[in-house]
């Protein structure tokens, strides 16, 4: 059955021409020369005052990247990116290492205020009285400020920009950087490894439950600049951390590249919850401009009983190429992936997850909802695999998609590989199945068919959204109403 009017209106509200964060901040910046070569890599490393081993690591990644070719397997099409026509480093002037908020350029503070991101610690997020969120604000290539650092330090939690971590905690960085996503993992990860400029670093020590939500807000501002951030989160034994990520960019005619790498490491009994609201500029109604979001996100459940959960709400970017994954290495570890991807205009989304079961009794769950409207293409691509030694592994996957209009496309490309007979894998598009009985029940109670569908499916979507931390609900509230009636598997 086709989408109901209510859904269509709601999707229209977040259509590409409704983009609210498209303004530009006029601020002086320091840039590296255009193009990419070993000197640029050295320039970035030097700017950051990095140790020698880090420079070598970057140069090694750069060499590997040079030898690689751009992947073409994703269901997206775009003109070839000229990697020599980009700035790989751009930083607001005089912001290198501000110690306190007072040292931060007021222009920048105004920008974040406009985006609704409170950087002043006494401020709290609207509607979430009493709750505190520590923010690491990344502007183009550098982290401008990290809030609540002292309070976190009291609990033993390290939360800072990765450049700072390289200076202050080099051993930790050296131990974990690249251990989940190696330099040569894929084309964009290699590029990121060579030129990443900033990002967040989190270390939660043994047995600590992080006292507040941590978050990073990424903002691309400068023209013709690529943003390459690197996030590394380590939850030591028995630790817990919830991390949020948000992103926006100005409206421009050109396409800008964002190639991030996120690495999560969960040791024994640790849990990491990673939530993203991705709202990069999606391009205008004719498909001009927008961010190319080529991201490698991977979590490693290294210890026994560890858990990593990814939740994402994807509404932005011209092209999304993103597969937050879990390597379930530790016995009894658990991976989760909850995703809602809405594409409009000429957006192209190729997203999904990988659940790689290596340990015994590992379990994973994938819930993915794709909504395609306008002339967009929305693809779910996922891998679930059980290796020979992954005895008693379990997976449940459910991916549904909805099309609004006949100019768009929704695709599902799941790979299911069971190499162990005790693995129980279920992959199903259950929407129609669920609704048959439930619809009947609701209609028996006097609801019209449309109301019944909306009720059933909203209940289900709410399930996914409930995985999001409170702070994000405000932003995703408008998505909640979207019902997925008439879904196709």
């Amino acid at each position: 059955m086709p989408a109901v009017q209510e859904t269509i209106d709601q999707v229209k509200e977040i259509d590409v021409d409704q983009y609210k964060y498209g303004f530009e901040t006029n601020i002086e910046s320091v840039k590296a020369p255009k193009g990419l070569n070993e000197d640029i890599v050295k320039f970035i490393s030097d700017k950051k005052g990095e140790p020698e081993w880090m420079l070598q690591w970057r140069l090694d990644a750069y060499k590997r990247w040079r030898a690689m070719t751009e992947p073409t397997w994703a269901k997206v099409s775009y003109p070839k990116i000229d990697f020599e026509d980009l700035y790989y480093y751009s930083a607001p002037k005089n912001t290198e290492g501000p110690k306190t908020l007072d040292e931060v350029d007021p222009e920048l503070l105004a920008t974040y205020e406009k985006l609704g991101i409170p950087l002043k610690e006494q401020e709290v997020l609207a509607g979430v009285q009493g709750s505190k969120v520590a923010v690491d604000a990344v502007f183009d290539s550098v982290s401008v400020v990290t809030t609540f650092k002292e309070e976190l330090a009291k609990a033993g939690v390290i939360f800072c920009s990765i450049s700072e971590a390289l200076r202050e905690h080099p051993d930790l960085v050296k131990k974990y950087l690249g251990s989940v996503v190696p330099q040569s993992d894929n084309y964009y990860a290699a590029l990121n490894s060579a030129v990443f400029s900033d990002g967040s670093f989190v270390y939660v020590p043994e047995g600590v439950r992080c006292p507040m939500e941590l978050s990073t807000y990424f903002r691309i501002n400068e023209k013709q600049t690529g943003q390459f951030e690197r996030t590394l989160i380590i939850a030591d034994k028995g630790a817990y951390v919830s991390y949020l990520e948000g992103c926006t960019a100005p409206m421009r005619d050109e396409n800008q590249l964002h190639a991030a790498v996120v690495e999560l490491v969960a040791l024994d009994d640790a849990e990491i919850k990673y939530s993203t609201v991705q709202n990069w500029y999606p391009g205008d109604a004719t498909g001009k401009g927008g961010i190319y979001n080529f991201v490698t996100k991977r979590g490693d459940c290294r210890g026994v009983n560890s858990k990593i959960s990814w939740t994402q709400v994807e509404t932005g970017s011209a092209i999304t190429w993103k597969y937050p994954s879990c390597i379930l290495r530790g016995d009894n570890s658990r991976g989760e992936f909850y995703s809602i991807a809405v594409s409009n205009g000429y957006q192209q989304v190729d997203s999904g997850t990988k659940m790689i079961h290596l340990g015994k009794n590992t379990s994973s769950r994938i819930i993915s909802k794709g909504i395609a409207a306008g002339k967009s293409q929305n693809t779910y691509r996922g891998l679930v695999s059980a290796h020979r030694k992954a005895t008693n592994s379990r997976n449940f996957t459910c991916c549904d998609s909805l099309l609004i209009g006949n100019q768009c496309g929704a695709h599902t490309v799941p790979y299911i590989e069971a190499k162990n007979s005790t693995a129980h894998f279920e992959h199903e598009a259950t929407t129609s199945k669920i609704s048959e009985d439930m619809l009947f029940y609701c209609r028996q109670r006097g609801l019209s068919e449309e109301e019944a569908v909306a009720l059933v499916v909203n209940g289900f979507v709410r399930d996914v959204l409930q995985q999001l931390p409170m702070e994000f609900l405000a932003e995703t509230q408008r998505l909640i109403g979207i019902s997925l009636e008439g879904s196709v598997g």
Binding site: Q407, E417, A423, F425
Partner: protein, 439 residues
């Protein structure tokens, strides 16, 4: 792109050159096809659709192509033995021994069905007319396995079921491997089920006792199902030892038609079945199901592409597999719904029962949808035998082994139930049972 070709691929090209002057008809088409094959070689794991079946590595030998000539010495008794339970099917029978048609075994008693051998058809067409091997849907969209078939095809059938005719018996096209020397057999069938006709056809692949336990069989079936026709099309590969079976089906379905296909594979070293099924007329139905049973190092791959090109059509897929030892089962099913194909109803399900810790099941149920008012679903499960069910049966006094076979049989039975022709379903059930007895 330069491809590094291995010895087998090179050997096949050379084998073609050796026999080229003895291949009848379509010389130009054959030359072009082998040139394409030479350029690309066998599909390998870097090609998405062949991710799980690396043909380049799996075809280990360039077998000599069987060339027609002389009559085969195979008596009816041996044929019956090779057919096993399938011999009980009362059918219109056409027999190929090592890829060569043997009219002495044919039992053609249906006037509604016209049968010609492809060898005769190729011979009777003048060189100028190459329509027999010309690009059927661009030779199944550039498959090098189909190219190899085009280059080397020696025989096959052209079966026409007249419009409105309803032959009482199923048509059995039997392929028997008899030679003790492993070789390569290349066959192509052109099957047309006329408007309003109702018929069923079974392609059977068996091995005579004492025949080589290796070799390569490459078959192509081109099927057209007319408007309002009801056509059941079954492929049965049974106990062919370690031979490699490469099958390509291209099917077009007209309006208001009903096409029911079934693939049964039990005991085959390497089986790869590709299907491209296209809905060309509205309000038609497709049921494509199958059962695959693998043990030892069997590798059974079914890859289907179903294209909903017109509105109001329905497709159903149900594949069930039982995998023992180090066997590997693969199901890749893609359903494409084009922008115009509104009101499409598509469902697919692939399930595997893994009996051994070393078995493997890979599944890729893919959907590509461009229409907004459709209902498509897919599912895939894999697991070992349910201990609870086993316990239940045993608590009712059924011995463990028997309980196991009961459960396995019922699992496979669900797929076999999709075969509507009674005699064929019974024969396949018997074959499955025989296979399961050895578990």
């Amino acid at each position: 792109m330069v491809t590094t070709k291995n010895k087998v691929e090179q050997g096949l090209v050379e084998a073609f050159q050796d026999v080229a002057d003895r291949l009848v008809g379509g010389a130009e088409e054959r030359e072009a096809a082998i040139a394409r094959f030479e350029a690309t070689g066998f599909p390998h794991r870097r090609i998405e659709e062949w991710k799980y079946t690396d043909l380049r590595n799996m075809v280990k030998e360039a077998h000599t192509p069987f060339m027609p000539g002389g009559s085969k010495t195979l008596d009816e008794g041996v044929l019956q033995k090779a057919l096993g339970p399938l011999s009980a099917i009362d059918a219109t029978r056409i027999v190929f021994v090592d890829g060569q048609h043997q009219s002495s075994f044919d039992q053609l008693d249906e006037s509604a069905v016209s049968v010609a051998t492809l060898a005769n058809q190729l011979a009777s067409h003048s060189d100028g007319d190459q329509s027999l091997l010309a690009d059927r849907e661009a030779t199944f969209r550039g498959s090098s396995v189909v190219d190899l078939n085009t280059a080397l095809v020696t025989d096959g059938t052209e079966i026409t079921i007249g419009p409105g005719s309803k032959p009482a018996k199923p048509i059995l096209v039997v392929h028997v491997a008899q030679s003790a020397n492993p070789a390569m057999t290349t066959i192509r069938h052109k099957i047309s089920c006329g408007a309003g006709a109702e018929a069923s056809l079974v392609e059977v692949f068996v091995r005579a006792p004492g025949a080589a336990d290796a070799g390569l069989i490459n078959t192509v079936s081109e099927v057209d199902v007319g408007n309002g026709a009801q056509f059941a099309h079954i492929k049965c590969v049974s106990n062919v030892a370690k031979t490699s079976q490469l099958a390509n089906w291209h099917v077009t379905i007209g309006a208001d038609a009903n096409y029911r296909a079934f693939h049964f594979t039990a005991g085959c070293g390497l089986a790869r079945s590709d299907g491209l099924i296209q809905f060309r007329g509205e309000r038609s139905k497709l049921d494509f199901s199958g059962a695959f049973l693998g043990r030892d190092t069997d590798h059974i791959d079914t890859t289907l592409v179903i294209e909903h090109l017109v509105p109001h059509c329905e497709s159903r897929e149900l594949f069930k597999g039982v995998l023992d030892d180090r066997a590997r089962g693969i199901f890749q099913g893609k359903v494409l719904v084009t922008q115009d194909a509104q009101k499409t109803d598509g469902k697919q399900m692939a399930q595997a029962l893994m009996l051994s810790p070393d078995s493997e099941f890979d599944s890729k149920p893919e959907l590509e949808i461009y229409a907004d008012d459709v209902l498509c679903g897919h599912g895939s499960t894999s697991a070992e035998l349910d201990e609870d069910l086993l316990f239940y049966l045993r608590s009712r006094g059924i011995p463990k082994d028997q309980a196991r076979s009961l459960l396995i049989e019922s699992f496979v039975g669900e797929a076999l139930a999709c075969v509507e022709v009674d005699s064929v379903r019974e024969a396949l059930t018997k074959l499955a049972r025989t296979w399961l007895m050895e578990v």
